[in-house]
């Protein structure tokens, strides 16, 4: 009903003079990038599903897959307006609700790309960010509570944070903090929320007593490969044009992923005596996370350094996790929180206006203030995401229990929540 009413309200704004500035090359690349980033979310589903036990494989896959549908609706109805619409320093207004005024001509964020193309490209970022969190509470969250939580989280955490960093009136944007493709908005925000979820929802049944092992590492490696592939759209697409900057971001993305995979493999080989496929896959993802904010501001050699450092950093973070004893089941904080934070700091170190004139000089190129702005952005998102995620979990918990019943957890979410099983072998 509401959606139908909005459809009637929304006006199609196509003006001939707008359309003349639309570039076919830029539009093609942004639309293709949107499709690439869309594929990342089911890819993430495979990445996560391989790491859970077989009795939870489908439920884990679905928690990512269904995000494409849920946020796909939320975004066009009101999410895009809240994140990118004209508003105040904190959040966008409701003037673009139901995509009113978002048309085939260029919008305020891109002169050469239809506003609709920018909107749907951004939708894919809004979709994958909450999906990333699902790794923290894998194998134990009730599906109904999960759906309620995710809609609230996307609206109250993601949309404002995206507004802060990317909208023209957002306070971090005005401050001059740099985040090319979403290191802070996507990875720190989801990583910190994941830590909060893991702490508040408690450990899986049998955690620390039973051996809870991944059921299908090849599935995880395939998922990582799909993430890597899609990430070219995520980072190079963020140039919002088919141009040299897109090519530069493409190269830094691949360089950091490669270096991340190698450095994780190396540190693991030294530490445990064996190089693992899960390690290579995790390292590649860590490299991709770390380069995300920096991808359009740094050189390929800086990208190699960023990737090489993050592989070691995330490995150490996951080692530390077992000391603290909380159950961030699939290491969302260890990879995305830690990797995203390093990426934001690395942007403050390695950014260069020789790569991107719109950027700023990092610490290594004589710019001092950028690093402070990066740290301010990191701190702000850490606090906001952690606190608001905690409040939302409490609220959802009053309406619907967050965790499944003990016996349902025992038989697995596939059967208890969805009435089906992943394998009939």
């Amino acid at each position: 009903m509401i959606v139908a009413a909005l459809m009637v309200l929304s006006e199609v704004s196509v003006y001939a003079q707008d359309l003349e500035s639309v570039s076919s090359g830029d539009t093609a690349w942004v639309l293709a990038s949107a499709a690439l980033v869309m594929l990342m979310t089911p890819g993430l589903g495979l990445f996560y599903a391989g790491m859970v036990r077989r009795k939870n494989a489908l439920a884990t896959m679905l928690q990512s897959f269904i995000m494409v549908a849920i946020i796909g609706v939320q975004w066009v109805v009101f999410g895009y307006s809240l994140a990118f619409g004209p508003g105040n320093w904190f959040i966008g207004g409701l003037s673009w609700i139901g995509l009113r005024g978002v048309g085939q001509g260029p919008g305020p964020y891109s002169e050469t790309v239809p506003h609709l193309a920018f909107m749907i490209y951004q939708a894919m970022f809004a979709i994958i960010t909450p999906a990333l969190i699902t790794g923290a509470f894998a194998e134990r969250m009730r599906f109904r509570s999960f759906l309620i939580f995710m809609v609230l989280w996307a609206t109250i955490v993601y949309d404002p944070v995206a507004h802060w960093v990317w909208a023209k009136d957002g306070w971090l944007f005005k401050l001059g903090a740099l985040d090319f493709a979403g290191g802070t908005v996507v990875h720190i925000c989801s990583g910190v929320a994941a830590l909060c979820c893991a702490l508040m929802m408690g450990k899986r049944k049998g955690f620390g007593r039973e051996e809870i092992m991944p059921h299908s590492i090849w599935m995880t490696v395939l998922g990582a490969a799909i993430l890597w592939f899609g990430w070219f759209g995520f980072n190079a697409g963020s140039a919002l044009g088919s141009n040299g900057l897109a090519a530069s971001a493409f190269v830094t993305t691949n360089s950091a992923a490669s270096a991340g995979a190698l450095s994780w493999l190396a540190v693991e080989w030294l530490h445990r005596g064996k190089p693992t496929a899960l390690g290579a896959a995790s390292g590649a993802v860590a490299g991709l996370v770390a380069i995300t904010p920096a991808s359009g501001f740094v050189s390929p050699m800086a990208a190699l350094a960023i990737g090489a450092v993050v592989g070691v950093l995330c490995y150490l973070a996951i080692m530390l996790k077992s000391r603290f004893g909380y159950d961030d089941s699939l290491d969302v904080f260890g990879v995305h929180g830690v990797g995203g934070t390093w990426g934001a700091i690395a942007t403050g170190l390695f950014a260069s206006t020789a790569i991107n004139a719109v950027g700023a000089e990092g610490l290594l190129f004589g710019g001092g203030t950028l690093m402070l702005k990066q740290l301010a952005a990191v701190c702000a998102v850490f606090v906001y995401s952690f606190v608001v995620t905690g409040i939302l979990l409490k609220l959802v918990g009053f309406v619907s229990p967050l965790r499944v019943a003990r016996e349902d957890e025992e038989i697995g979410l596939d059967l208890s929540q969805h009435g089906e099983v992943a394998y009939n072998l």
Binding site: M213, P214, E268, R272, K274, L278, S282, I318, M319, D331
Partner: protein
């Protein structure tokens, strides 16, 4: 009548089957099992976390033979399944009260042939 249960290395199943064929043992049942004994499990690492799996894949072979054949069959299995390393497995002998061939209703040793 004796039931011989042999828990052996999966890699030795073909050798044991060949040895039993030579002796003319007509039937057997083979089951994939997990087990542990003196042989320690293998350590697995996932993201640097250590997991020790104590139960290893083994094969259990069950053969029922007349009392007179029991020693020869046990020796054949023990020879064919041996590598000399820890983890070769064990053989158990159990007395069996009777046997029935379902198709013909024959009983006793004749049901085994």
């Amino acid at each position: 009548m004796v039931k011989i249960e042999a828990v052996i290395r999966p890699s030795k199943l073909d050798d044991v089957k060949a040895a039993l064929d030579e002796l003319g043992v007509a039937g057997m049942t083979v089951i994939h099992v997990m087990g542990c004994g003196k042989q320690r499990g293998r350590t697995q690492y996932y993201r640097g976390q250590e997991y020790t799996v104590n139960l290893l894949d083994k094969v259990k072979l069950e053969v029922v033979v007349p009392d007179s054949d029991a020693d020869a069959v046990v020796d054949a299995i023990a020879d064919a399944a041996a590598t000399g390393e820890i983890g070769d497995g064990k053989i158990f002998l159990i007395n069996v009260a009777d046997a029935v061939r379902i198709r013909t209703k024959e009983r006793g040793d004749t049901a085994l042939r």
